[in-house]
Symmetry: C2
Subunit: 247 residues, 2 copies
């Protein structure tokens, strides 16, 4: 099932509003930690899955990447990306990852920021990525943490009568699959997978785990966005870097 | 800090009572999943950390292992192990893992079942294990899951007024370190570490992750011990197999 929520115009407008704010979870927490794991980009061939408005793809070009392909299922995103970033090494394509056609063993880096939890068939996704990566090629991706996706769609921060946060509720952890939530619009679909499923799928597809991050905000970030203090109580994101092994 | 809780006689007696029951979490959940990841034992040199009463060490001998050393900090455990299992390939030593002296690169398998969450210095522990493992040697261990250890010592299963389980409470996830709980006796010390700390420590010490399990009970196990149904709602255990990489 290929969800194309970013072509829902109400969703897309609200999403643009959030991303335009400097102080959001992406800018203050996910992006700095994701960036810390980016390998050398010079002369590399890169595919960015769920490229959105193309800013990361353009960043890779600015760091000397040879060729960057950004793919996204949303025509809203691809239209914006093509307007924002023009360079001979940059290509943007509207496509679902499930349908991508790329020669095997040709990509040095597959990157993807906060997209994989929207994809129904994780096994197929990782198999495809492993196939297109060259030997020693890198997969770097972030997604919502299994602790958070387990019981997604329910009220997870439990408060007392005064409204103080008591703890974060985990449930249904081993029941993998579809979750729906109301985020910006109703019924956004996402998929919960356990930590072991995520990691074993990488390993079984020839990807060796190099680093795992469960990001913690800096003091400065918490000053700018106080709700980030909750990140010390349970992790929102998971960032994984893995390397394609020699056969 | 080396905790020697199994030489607290009250604790040890209660522990023996639990382990003597066929239907417990170890026998029905942790052990079958741990066993599924055991490599070939024939002609192998093995060290079992926290060997307890020596049953796993003796099992390794029965499977053709060449030499098995069981170490445990508890003299109660070692005394029992020596009584229960006598074989020329078997050695039991009372020692803390922090103090073990074994020639580098000589062990084919280091195993440890539900012990590592009692050890204060995880970095040192893994460094020592990596040093004694031979090339392609295996570390197989289980420990309490970070989802469970995060807020250990607090009431984690939240119930309504009728006593129904509502969810499992997670908190303090990023605050690693000492937790105390009352299990069999008061103030048992254990250590919480995040998933990323556990996995990155292995990787940084040259151990490649091969498989991760967050065990789910079989239907039969839940019939025998109904409280195991909670395992579908949050995982109790984490089992990891890792391989010493070539330098």
């Amino acid at each position: 099932m290929k969800q194309n929520i970013y072509d829902n115009n109400t969703f897309f407008e609200k999403y643009q509003e959030i991303r335009a704010r400097e102080n959001n979870y992406n800018n203050l927490l996910e992006q700095p930690n994701f960036s810390a794991l980016i390998p050398t980009l010079k002369n590399k061939v890169i595919m960015d899955i769920g490229c959105g408005m193309g800013d990361f793809a353009a960043y890779c070009i600015s760091q000397g990447a040879k060729q960057v392909t950004g793919i996204d299922i949303s025509s809203n995103m691809i239209t914006n990306a093509k307007k924002r970033h023009i360079h001979e090494g940059l290509t943007f394509e509207q496509a679902a990852i499930e349908d991508m056609t790329v020669p095997n063993g040709t990509i040095d880096l597959v990157s993807s920021s906060l997209v994989f939890h929207y994809i129904a068939d994780f096994q197929l996704l990782i198999k495809k990525i492993s196939t297109v990566l060259c030997e020693d090629g890198i997969l770097l991706f972030s997604l919502e943490h299994p602790i958070v996706t387990a019981n997604k769609g329910k009220e997870n921060w439990i408060t007392n009568e005064e409204g103080d946060l008591l703890h974060f509720a985990v449930d249904n952890y081993q029941n993998e699959g579809l979750r729906t939530q109301n985020w910006l619009v109703d019924h956004v679909m996402m998929y919960h997978r356990t930590m072991s499923t995520i990691l074993n799928t990488l390993i079984e597809n020839g990807l060796q785990i190099e680093k795992i991050l469960e990001p913690i905000p800096t003091k400065e970030a918490v000053c700018n966005l106080p709700s980030l203090h909750k990140e010390f109580r349970r992790p929102s994101f998971l960032i994984i870097r893995a390397k394609k092994c020699k056969n």
